[in-house]
Amino acid sequence: MFEVKQYDAVVIGVSAGGLAALGEILPQLDKRIPVPIFIVQHVSPDSDNFMPTHFDSHCHVSVKEGEDKEPPEKGTVYFAPPNYHLLVELEKTLALSVEERVNYSRPSVDVLFDTAAEAYGDKLIGIILTGANSDGALGLRKIKQFGGLTIVQSPETAEADSMPRAAIEATDVDHLLPLSEIGVFLNSLLMDKGA
């Protein structure tokens, strides 16, 4: 019998071109989506919480900034705060840190992916979107090693293609998807599991 695999969380790493890319994906997500979604979007250290506020009013799911020690809830999107790394503890609560920049970035995609891979193991979906650096490539590889599902935005649909290309080079990714299909894909993958 065909067994539908269950996933417990989604992590997304995105840099240059992120506002438009996330603006395509996040509003498509079903509000009953049964997992939390964690996002590292590279932003300048002194930016405000525009992104979570903006998306919260344009999406079916709720969107907020991740807080230290917060237990994540399904149907909710958590952004890493500007100038803080976002981590996931093994108990699946969120944690923040101001340790050194990783890949010149704080928040860094690798830090989120690395800790989420350990916390969620093969129940994790990792997604790399548009960006002009290589942050997230190692993190995505770790998600794959731990049995999670890896998705990369197809470089030709990315505003900046180096981040997707670096991820593809580092990992044998499971799905290369055009930007327009990622939201729908997540819905079908995650919403069908009771069927």
């Binding site: 807080e67 230290d68 944690a95 840190s97 101001v98 800790t115």
Partner: protein, 278 residues
């Protein structure tokens, strides 16, 4: 290929034993630090020194104090800036300084002062507000090496541009270059600022109350502690403040869910400035 969850569990057990070994041998207590963060710091050292596993690391730190000191630096976060989060300093000028001005003598504690950047920022602020001469700043950290750096007050020239921008955004009233002298690739904080600061070793995890403070600054330290340890430290701060004293935490830290929440009033939510109720 799936990594066995058992491997993660085993690693976690090894790390627990390693932290226990640090505590038993050297007295530094990292047992209630946030795990994911601690593991990343230890993993960094594991990779840099190409060690087999955390048990090997444990063996080495017990027998090799120099190695332990390196590890101690790895485990302390020393990333900060002068006037980090400039808007916090402008709020302190606006909402806290008017109260400080009513005291004949002002005591300020920077807990977890790292290399001193935020300590000297406070010194500058006090000077510009005309209350520096009747203030005493106490700056503490558990890491002796970092305390030495803080005392020296020497920072690389290439970060000064960033510090200057922060200073200006914070409502600075002078030229930032008035507060240091340039020395080749470094700047040295001027002596009259250093003179207002008493640096000493203090561990928030294991040490006690620091008396009758008017203002406590402790920013981006508590995010590394678990809830239990956070509550211990919040109590320590409560006991160390005079009635009506102020507490300033990091932008993403909060008293909201702590055991002392109802003993403080919120002075400024975004800047995380609190005041001990009288």
């Amino acid at each position: 290929m799936n990594q066995e969850p058992e491997q993660i569990e085993n690693e976690r057990l090894e790390i627990k034993l390693l932290l226990e070994a640090i505590y038993l041998k050297y007295g530094y207590d990292f047992r209630n630090y946030a795990c994911a963060h601690t593991k990343r710091r230890l993993e960094h050292r594991l990779n840099v020194d190409s060690m087999e596993n955390y048990s090997a690391m444990q063996h080495r730190l017990i027998h090799d104090e120099a190695f332990f000191n390196t590890l101690l630096l790895d485990l302390s976060i020393n990333v900060t800036e002068m006037f980090r989060d400039p808007w916090v300093y402008s709020k302190v000028r606006e909402l806290v300084v008017p109260h400080l001005k009513t005291y004949p003598f002002i005591k300020i504690w920077h807990a977890g002062c790292s290399a001193g950047q935020e300590v000297y920022s406070m010194g500058i602020l006090l000077e510009e507000e005309g209350i520096k001469e009747r203030s005493q700043i106490y700056a503490t950290d558990f890491n002796e090496l970092i305390l030495q750096k803080a005392k020296q007050g020497i920072y690389p020239m290439d970060v000064i541009r960033e510090y200057t921008a922060n200073y200006q955004k914070s409502g600075g009233k002078q030229s930032f270059s008035d507060y240091y002298t340039a020395d080749y690739d470094n700047v040295v904080i001027k002596q009259s600022l250093k003179d207002k600061v008493l640096f000493s070793s203090h561990n928030l995890v294991t040490d006690g109350v620091f008396g009758e403070m008017n203002l406590i600054f402790c920013r981006n330290v508590l995010i590394y502690f678990d809830r239990e340890l956070q509550n211990r430290v919040f109590n320590l701060f409560y006991e160390s403040l005079c009635p009506g004293g102020f507490l300033c935490l990091g932008s993403k830290e909060s008293l909201r869910f702590s055991s002392v929440a109802d003993k403080f009033e919120v002075v400024s939510g975004r800047e995380k400035i609190y005041r001990k109720k009288r």
